[in-house]
C-alpha cells in the first residue's frame, strides 16, 4: 500500500475529554460543549480561532449542525463523519490532513456518542435491514469466534484461555481504577471476572466493554505553528486507516485468529512513523479492547508479540501498567465503555497525558519517565473478525531528529 504520510508535519496543541459514563445529566450538546471548551482552553485559543471542524459520531446526530448549533459556530466548515468504531479517529485523521494541506491553520477533531439514551444495554446500532438476510448475531457473539479458534490453533487449554482473557479485563480495570474520567473506577477481582454471566460464547459480562456516553476533542495545527499554543505539543508520526473486503465471513480460509485489516493499517502506520520494532520503540499503546479476545489478538496483529505467543505475554504481565509495553494505561474500552464517536479521541487523550508526563502519578507509565520512550499508538477497529475497518496512529512527544 502506498501512503506517504505526514510525519512531523502536524501537531496536537490542546485536548479535552469529558468523564465517560452513564451521563444521565448530559445530552449530546452538553458533552460536545464540555469537550470542545476544555480543548480550546487547553490550547489557549478562542473558539472563533478554529478554522474548521471534523465531528465524528455514529448515531448521535446528523450533519455539521450537530456541532455548530450547540457551539454557536460562526459559519465554519463542520464535516460530520462516521466510520464504525474508528469514527473518532477518522475525525482526527481528516483534521490532520486538512491542516497539513495548508487549507486551514487550526482545526478541531471532536467525537461524541450518547448511547445511554437508547434504553438498551449493549450497542444497538443503526438498522439497515435491506433484504432481511443479514445475521442477527450481536457483536459479542461474532468476536467470541476468536476464542475457540485461537485456543485451538495455538494449543491453549480452555481454562488457560479463560485465565488469559480474565487477566486482560483485570489489567484494564486495574488501570481504570486510577483514572478519574473512566466509567468504571474500581479494580475487579479475577474471580468476579471469570465467573461473570455468559453473554456469548466464552465471553462473560466482564469480557465486554461497557456502554457509556462521552466526548473528546483535539486541536491540531501545522508543526511550525505549534509552539504558539504550547511548549509541549504531540507530533503526528503516522496515520493509517483501512477498510477490508470483508472476506472473513465468506472465505473458508479465514481462521478467526487475526484481523488482516489491523495488520495492514499497523504496517502502514509504522512505515510512515519509521517504526521497525514497535514493542521496543513504543512507550504505550491504546488499543480497541471491545472484548478481551480482541485485545489478545491485537497484541499479535500490532506486532507486540509473535504469532501464538500473546497469551503467554499477557500472563507474564508484559502489557500491564508497569510492564514492558503498557497497553491501555487509561483503562481502555473496558473501563471507559465505548461511546463510538469519542473512543478514538479518548485514546489519543491518554497519549496526550502520558507522553507529556502529565498523567496522574498513580498511572504515569515508566516507559516514558524512566525508559525515555516518546512514542504512543492508538488503534480502533470497527466491524467484526474478518470484516472490519482499522485505524492506527502513532504520535510522539519529540520531533524526529
Amino acid at each position: 500500500m502506498a501512503s506517504n504520510g505526514i510525519r512531523d508535519r502536524v501537531a496536537i496543541v490542546g485536548m479535552g475529554c469529558t468523564p465517560f459514563g452513564e451521563r444521565w445529566d448530559k445530552g449530546t450538546d452538553d458533552l460536545l460543549t464540555d469537550a470542545a471548551v476544555d480543548a480550546i482552553a487547553d490550547a489557549g485559543v478562542k473558539m472563533d480561532e478554529i478554522d474548521a471542524f471534523w465531528l465524528g459520531t455514529m448515531g448521535s446526530g446528523n450533519s455539521g449542525l450537530t456541532l455548530s448549533r450547540p457551539l454557536k459556530l460562526d459559519y465554519r466548515p463542520v464535516s460530520r463523519l462516521e466510520n464504525f468504531c474508528a469514527t473518532g479517529s477518522e475525525a482526527f485523521r481528516n483534521a490532520c490532513y486538512a491542516v497539513a494541506s495548508g487549507a486551514y491553520d487550526l482545526a478541531m477533531a471532536i467525537g461524541v456518542e450518547k448511547l445511554k439514551d437508547s434504553g438498551y444495554s449493549g450497542l444497538t446500532g443503526i438498522h439497515l435491514v435491506g433484504d432481511g438476510t443479514g445475521g442477527s448475531l450481536t457483536a459479542p457473539a461474532t468476536f467470541s469466534f476468536l476464542v475457540p479458534a485461537y485456543a485451538e490453533k495455538y494449543g491453549v487449554g480452555t481454562d488457560e484461555m479463560k485465565e488469559v482473557l480474565t487477566r486482560i479485563a483485570w489489567k484494564n480495570h486495574y488501570n481504570g481504577a486510577r483514572n478519574p474520567r473512566a466509567q468504571f473506577r474500581k479494580e475487579v477481582p479475577m474471580e468476579t471476572i471469570s465467573k461473570s454471566p455468559r453473554v456469548a460464547g466464552e465471553l462473560g459480562v466482564f469480557d465486554c466493554s461497557g456502554v457509556s456516553d462521552g466526548s473528546a476533542a483535539a486541536i491540531v495545527c501545522r508543526v511550525e505553528d505549534a509552539h504558539r499554543y504550547t511548549d509541549a505539543p504531540l507530533y503526528v508520526k503516522g496515520l493509517s486507516f483501512v477498510a477490508g473486503p470483508a472476506a472473513g465471513p465468506i472465505d473458508p480460509e479465514y481462521d478467526y485468529t487475526t484481523f488482516e485489516e489491523v495488520v495492514r493499517s499497523a504496517t502502514d502506520a509504522y512505515h510512515q512513523a519509521g517504526i521497525t520494532d514497535p514493542r521496543s520503540q513504543l512507550a504505550m499503546a491504546e488499543v480497541h479492547d471491545c472484548f478481551t479476545p480482541t485485545e489478545l489478538v491485537l497484541m499479535e496483529d500490532l506486532g507486540f508479540a509473535d504469532r501464538g505467543t500473546a497469551w503467554k505475554e499477557v500472563l507474564a504481565g508484559t502489557f500491564e501498567l508497569g510492564g514492558e509495553l503498557p497497553v491501555n494505561p487509561d483503562g481502555g474500552l473496558k473501563s471507559f465503555g465505548h461511546p463510538i464517536g469519542a473512543s478514538g479521541l479518548r485514546m489519543l487523550f491518554e497519549c496526550w497525558l502520558q507522553l507529556r508526563k502529565k498523567a496522574p502519578p498513580e498511572r504515569q507509565i515508566k516507559t516514558v519517565t524512566e525508559g525515555g520512550r516518546t512514542l504512543g499508538l492508538t488503534h480502533n477497529l470497527g466491524g467484526g473478525p474478518g470484516e472490519c475497518v482499522s485505524f492506527v496512529s502513532v504520535v510522539g512527544s519529540e520531533p524526529s531528529a
Partner: protein, 485 residues
C-alpha cells in the same frame, strides 16, 4: 405410462410436545404420546417449503409448471403464499402458483386440482398445517404440525387416481372466524351423525367409479379432525383390518388438512406396485380418492432411500422434546417479557425483489473465472476481482460443516439463546448464519449441517423469511466433506 403422483414429501418439525407435560402444567388429564410442534421460526409456508423440497429431492421430475399451496392457517392473506413456496423451492418464474387456503378441506382440493393439472404438465401440491387450540383443550393436545407435498406428473406416475367421489354438506361442526387463534366445535355427537353416513356413501360411490369393491382395497386412509367420526367410519366400511393404515396420531398428532397426504405418503412408502389405496377425508362433507400404484413405485422408493430421505415412520419416531412453556410462547398463548433489545425492523420490499434468488432460492454466486463461491452473491469476485462474471448456484440443498460457532445470549430471539454458526459448504463457500432445531449444548466445530427455510421474524405485518442451518444428524466422521473452490 400413467399420469398421477410422481413423488411425495413429508416434513414433520423437529420438536415434540409430550402430552404428559400439558397435564403436569395444568393439572388436567394428560393423554399419552407426543404431538409435533413447529418451531418459533416456522409457519405453514416454511413447513410447506420443507415438504416440497423432499418431494422434489430424488430428482427425475420434469420442471414444475404449476403449484397449489393449501393451508387453513396462511401466513398472509391477499398476498399469495404459494409464490413464497415457489421461490424457496427455486421453481421457474414461469410457474403458476396458487393458494387454496383457509379451511381444512382446501387441502384435498389442492390435491385434486393438482391431479387435474398433472395430466398435462408437472404440478406440485403442497399442504401445510400448523394447528393448536386453547391451553388444556383437545385441539392443543391432539393436533400436530407438519406438511406434505406431491408431484403430479403426466407420465411415470407411481400412483394413478382411478376413482373419486365427493359430497358437500353445509353444517357447523368446526369453524373459526378469521383472527381467532382456536376453532370452535359443535357438540361432538352432532358432527358424528352428520359425517358418518356421508362418508360411507362417498366411499361406496368412489369404489363404484373405480369398478372395485371394498375387499379389493389394500390400504385405507381415513382422516378428519372429527376423531370420533373417523373411528366410526374407518372400521365400518368392510375393508380388511390389515388394510387399515396406521394414523400415527399418538406420536404426531392430527395434521388436519395435511393428514390425508401424510397417510397417503406413509402408505406409498410401504405399498407394492398394483395395489389399491383409498383415501377418505371427512371435512364439511367427504372426499374419497381411489389410487392404484404402478410399477414405477419400486424405483422411486429405492431412489428415496438412496437420497437418504427419512421415511414417514422414521420422522414420526424422531424429534426432540419442547417444554410446554416454550410451546405456549411460540404459539402466542403465553405473553413473555421480550428481550431488552430493539425489535428488528421490517425488510425492504424492492430490495427483497432484487435479491430474490439469494433470499428465497439461497443462490450463491460462483465466479466463472476462478470458481470462488460467494454467499451472498456479489458482482466483484473476492479472489480474482473479476467483475460481472458470476453464475448463480443454488446451495439450499448443499450440506456443510460448522467451522466455528457462538452461543449468543444477547441477540433478539423468541427462543434464546441464538446459536450462530460459520458454515463451510461442501464444494466451497462460507456463510455465517443461525443454527436452528438444535440443542445448544450439542453444537461442535466439525458438525454437519444443512439449510432450512425459516421465518426469521415479523415486523410491521411483514414476515421476513430466509435460510438457517440445522444439524443433519450425520456424525462428522461419517461424512467427510471434500473442499474445493
Amino acid at each position: 405410462m400413467a399420469s398421477g403422483i410422481g413423488s411425495w414429501g413429508v416434513y414433520l418439525p423437529f420438536w415434540r410436545l409430550e402430552r404428559t407435560a400439558i397435564g403436569q402444567a395444568l393439572g388436567s388429564p394428560a393423554g399419552r404420546g407426543t404431538r409435533t410442534v413447529a418451531s418459533y421460526d416456522e409457519d405453514t409456508t416454511t413447513l410447506g417449503v420443507e415438504a416440497g423440497r423432499r418431494a422434489l429431492a430424488p430428482g427425475g421430475t420434469a420442471p414444475i409448471e404449476e403449484l397449489y399451496f393449501s393451508t387453513p392457517e396462511p401466513a398472509y392473506q391477499d398476498k399469495t403464499n404459494a409464490t413464497t413456496v415457489h421461490a424457496a423451492l427455486g421453481l421457474s418464474e414461469r410457474t403458476g402458483a396458487y393458494d387454496l387456503v383457509g379451511s381444512v378441506r382446501s387441502g384435498v382440493g389442492a390435491l385434486v386440482a393438482a391431479v387435474a393439472g398433472g395430466k398435462d404438465h408437472p404440478t406440485l401440491a403442497v399442504v401445510a398445517e400448523l394447528r393448536t387450540g386453547l391451553a388444556g383443550g383437545a385441539d392443543e393436545r391432539e393436533s400436530g404440525d407438519g406438511a406434505v407435498a406431491f408431484t403430479l406428473v403426466p407420465d411415470t406416475a407411481v400412483a394413478e387416481l382411478v376413482g373419486r367421489a365427493a359430497a358437500s354438506e353445509e353444517f357447523l361442526d368446526r369453524w373459526r372466524v378469521p383472527g381467532e387463534s382456536s376453532s370452535h366445535q359443535w357438540e361432538e355427537r352432532f358432527g358424528e351423525t352428520a359425517y358418518v353416513p356421508l362418508a360411507r356413501e362417498v366411499f361406496t360411490d368412489a369404489l363404484k367409479s373405480a369398478g372395485i369393491t371394498a375387499d379389493a382395497v389394500d390400504h385405507l386412509v381415513v382422516t378428519g379432525l372429527h376423531a370420533r367420526a373417523v373411528r366410526a367410519v374407518r372400521t365400518s366400511l368392510g375393508v380388511a383390518e390389515a388394510a387399515l393404515a396406521p394414523d400415527r396420531t399418538t406420536e404426531v398428532g392430527n395434521l388436519g388438512a395435511a393428514q390425508l397426504g401424510f397417510g397417503l405418503a406413509d402408505v406409498l412408502e410401504r405399498a407394492e406396485p398394483g395395489q389399491t389405496v383409498v383415501t377418505l377425508q371427512l371435512a364439511d362433507g367427504a372426499d374419497a380418492l381411489v389410487w392404484r400404484t404402478t410399477e414405477a413405485l419400486t424405483g422411486v422408493q429405492a431412489r428415496r432411500r438412496e437420497a437418504g430421505l427419512a421415511t414417514v415412520a422414521e420422522q414420526a419416531a424422531s424429534g426432540h422434546p419442547v417444554p410446554y412453556a416454550a410451546f405456549l410462547t411460540w404459539r402466542g398463548q403465553l405473553r413473555r417479557e421480550p428481550p431488552r433489545r430493539p425489535e428488528p425492523d421490517r425488510p425492504d420490499a424492492p430490495n427483497m425483489l432484487r435479491r430474490e434468488g439469494w433470499k428465497y432460492g439461497f443462490n450463491a454466486g460462483r465466479c466463472l473465472v476462478c470458481g470462488f463461491r460467494h454467499l451472498p452473491p456479489t458482482r466483484v469476485c473476492l479472489r480474482c476481482k473479476t467483475v460481472d462474471q458470476m453464475a448463480p448456484e443454488r446451495l439450499a440443498d448443499v450440506k456443510g460443516v460448522v467451522a466455528t460457532f457462538a452461543i449468543d445470549h444477547l441477540a433478539f430471539s423468541m427462543s434464546p439463546p441464538t446459536v450462530g454458526v460459520v458454515v463451510d459448504f461442501d464444494g466451497g463457500g462460507r456463510y455465517r448464519c443461525e443454527l436452528t432445531d438444535s440443542d445448544a449444548a450439542s453444537v461442535k466445530i466439525g458438525n454437519r449441517v444443512e439449510m432450512t427455510f425459516r421465518r426469521f421474524y415479523t415486523a410491521d405485518g411483514m414476515h421476513n423469511y430466509f435460510w438457517k442451518a440445522r444439524p443433519t444428524g450425520e456424525t462428522p466422521a461419517a461424512a467427510a466433506p471434500t473442499k474445493e473452490g
